[in-house]
């Protein structure tokens, strides 16, 4: 549910980074904040939640066009992984327009990935949304760990685990190095805007 701000002639939508704890959600967002400075509006809000930090900032996508003559502002959030942060999760997920699921390539995190995706599905359901209908992009993060000899899953295996039913775009990434971060975000914002464009078309 994007917000149409008539005063500013701006459409505000929400993209949320979801995924298992310590999977690299915040690293993704920090990299975006640092590397796309020109497209960031305002400061980054960082909340120390147990296990993971919760981040938020406004992002102005460029070169992706306007919707019906309005500028687009994307609110980027990470969701705290811990179950107890239900109030935060509720606020973040309510009215979400697009999701980037950051999966951890570490072999030992295989189950955590699947549980988190399942959790996302049930959380979305609570807000009346279907994981199959919402713009969603997967990211297989921490590919760089292979270089250090740490056992990681192949992207094929991860696709089998996580993307067999969803069939959404997926990208390998190394958020600490910044690889794959931009392309993941761009794809998700593109899908989100496309969806919004379609919705606003109907409203015509």
């Amino acid at each position: 549910m994007a917000i149409f701000n008539l005063k500013k002639r701006e459409i505000e939508c929400k993209v949320v980074f979801y995924g298992p704890g310590r999977g690299g959600k915040t690293t993704n967002l920090e990299y975006i904040f640092k590397s796309f400075k020109k497209q960031v509006a305002g400061e980054m809000v960082s909340i120390n939640t147990e296990g993971d930090r919760t981040l938020f900032f406004d992002f102005l996508p460029m070169g992706l066009g306007k919707i019906r003559g309005c500028d687009v502002r994307v609110q980027l959030y990470t969701v705290p992984g811990q179950v107890k942060y239900s109030s935060t999760r509720k606020l973040v997920l309510r009215g979400v327009d697009g999701i980037i699921f950051v999966a951890d390539s570490l072999e030992v995190r295989r189950e955590k990935n699947m549980l988190s995706l399942k959790d996302l599905q049930s959380n979305l359901k609570e807000y009346g949304k279907s994981i199959f209908k919402l713009p969603l992009v997967l990211q297989y993060n921490k590919r760089d760990l292979a270089d250090q000899g740490i056992p990681i899953m192949t992207t094929e295996q991860m696709a089998k685990d996580l993307n067999r039913q969803l069939k959404v775009p997926a990208f390998p990434a190394s958020a600490v190095k910044g690889e794959g971060v931009g392309v993941t975000l761009k794809e998700c914002v593109k899908l989100t805007l496309k969806k919004l464009q379609k919705e606003f078309q109907w409203a015509k």
């Binding site: 909340i47 939640t49 919760t54 942060y85 109030s87």
Partner: protein, 392 residues
């Protein structure tokens, strides 16, 4: 420009965080006034161009005051469009405040008060009695100090109120724990423990049904009590409509019944089987039921199943109400008990909206007392079940 309310709403629908986002997106300037029946005073948040610049909640100011409001999950707000002269003391970004506030709620750093939709929400902890039966410790709502006219201290073990004696004082617990118990042939039986914000003494004090105490109250550890302005409460009571007084009287009856059920089950004097004979179920536990009825003939019993069989929590008769109370949670029918009625049972509907309107207009203290009675009913019933489970 004249002050005007431009937005009005309910916190249970759109919380503080959401309202702040809305006002932020609109870059609004004005004052958000928030009221809750759990808070003695309204709170205020001042916005300039969509950003909160200051807030007041009781003695607290600024960011601290603003954070406390994230714990208000029930209440109402109105936004007044006006020039804001308040000093800018909050400099943190709007989203930063919202995310931090919600995080503090989830971390338990902010006290949350709101609908008591579950029995446990009102209970601060459980106390395991000598008999190995869990007795809940019931916490009361936030209290309005303007109703406290005097303070009294009681020491550990001291009897505050004695069953069977006369008296109509009502106290509120400022600090400490008080055990409510009843006399039986087998000694004193604890039926509930109450702590900060709970009331001692009953609605019966106003109801002119005689002022004999129906249970004893004993200090557990040192206790500080506030004596309530009974004259002021009595005056308020006198202004109530007959319908509302009848409702209070029936509510009080329920509490007495629930206490008796607990003592009976403790004494193993369970007559459930016999009493249910020849009666039929009117409201089944868990059924969706939204009516409120007044009994005009016959009798109704309130039944709850336990692992050791069904138990009767209350016996209701002429002029008692049964059904769903949208503004009060007693932990009884329809969610947590069934209603079984006699053959000659007859009722007439009660206008729930009118009852609720009158309830909403009561003073915070009277509302708190009623809320506390409902909490006592639900928790005493829980104790009754525990006695049944333990003692068969």
């Amino acid at each position: 420009m004249k002050k005007s309310v431009v937005l009005f709403g309910n916190l249970s629908f759109l919380g503080i965080g959401d309202v702040m986002q809305l006002l932020g997106a609109n870059a609004s300037t004005g004052v958000l006034r928030v009221i809750s029946r759990y808070a003695p005073e309204p709170a205020f948040i001042y916005f300039v161009k969509g950003n909160p610049v200051n807030a007041v909640n009781g003695p607290q100011q600024g960011l601290d005051a603003l954070y406390t409001l994230f714990g208000w999950q029930e209440g109402e707000y109105e936004f007044l469009l006006e020039e804001v002269k308040a000093e800018r003391v909050i400099r943190k970004s709007r989203m930063g405040i919202i995310l931090e506030g919600l995080k503090m709620v989830d971390d338990g750093q902010i006290e949350v008060f709101g609908p008591s939709d579950t029995i446990t929400r009102q209970v601060s902890s459980m106390y395991s009695s000598e008999l190995g039966v869990d007795i809940p410790i019931l916490k009361g709502p936030m209290l309005d100090y303007t109703y406290v006219v005097d303070e009294e201290d009681f020491f550990d073990g001291e009897i505050i109120v004695e069953e069977g004696k006369h008296g109509n004082w009502i106290w509120v617990i400022l600090e400490g724990i008080v055990e409510i118990n009843k006399d039986t042939k087998q000694g004193r039986v604890p039926i509930l423990r109450v702590t900060d914000g709970s009331f001692i003494g009953s609605l019966a004090s106003f109801l002119m049904q005689g002022n004999i105490r129906t249970a004893s109250a004993v200090a557990v550890g040192n206790v500080q009590l506030g004596v309530l302005d009974s004259q002021r409460l009595a005056q308020e009571y006198a202004k109530l409509t007959p319908g509302f007084r009848l409702f209070l009287s029936s509510l009080n009856n329920r509490l007495r019944q629930a206490s008796e059920a607990a003592t009976d089950l403790f004494a193993k004097a369970d007559k459930t089987e016999n009493e249910l004979k020849g009666k039929q179920t009117l409201i089944a536990q868990g059924e969706k039921y939204d009516k409120l009825l007044k009994i005009i003939e016959g009798e109704a019993v309130l039944v709850r199943p336990t692992d050791k069989g069904k138990i009767i929590l209350a016996r209701l008769g002429k002029e008692d109400f049964i059904g769903t109370l949208p503004f009060l949670e007693m932990g009884h029918e329809p969610g947590n008990a069934s209603i079984v009625v006699s053959k000659n049972f007859q009722t007439e509907p009660i206008d729930v909206d009118r009852l609720q309107d009158e309830h909403d207009q009561l003073s915070t203290t009277l509302k708190n007392i009623i809320d506390n009675v409902a909490g006592s009913i639900s928790n005493t019933s829980l104790v009754a079940c525990n006695y049944k489970q333990k003692r068969g």
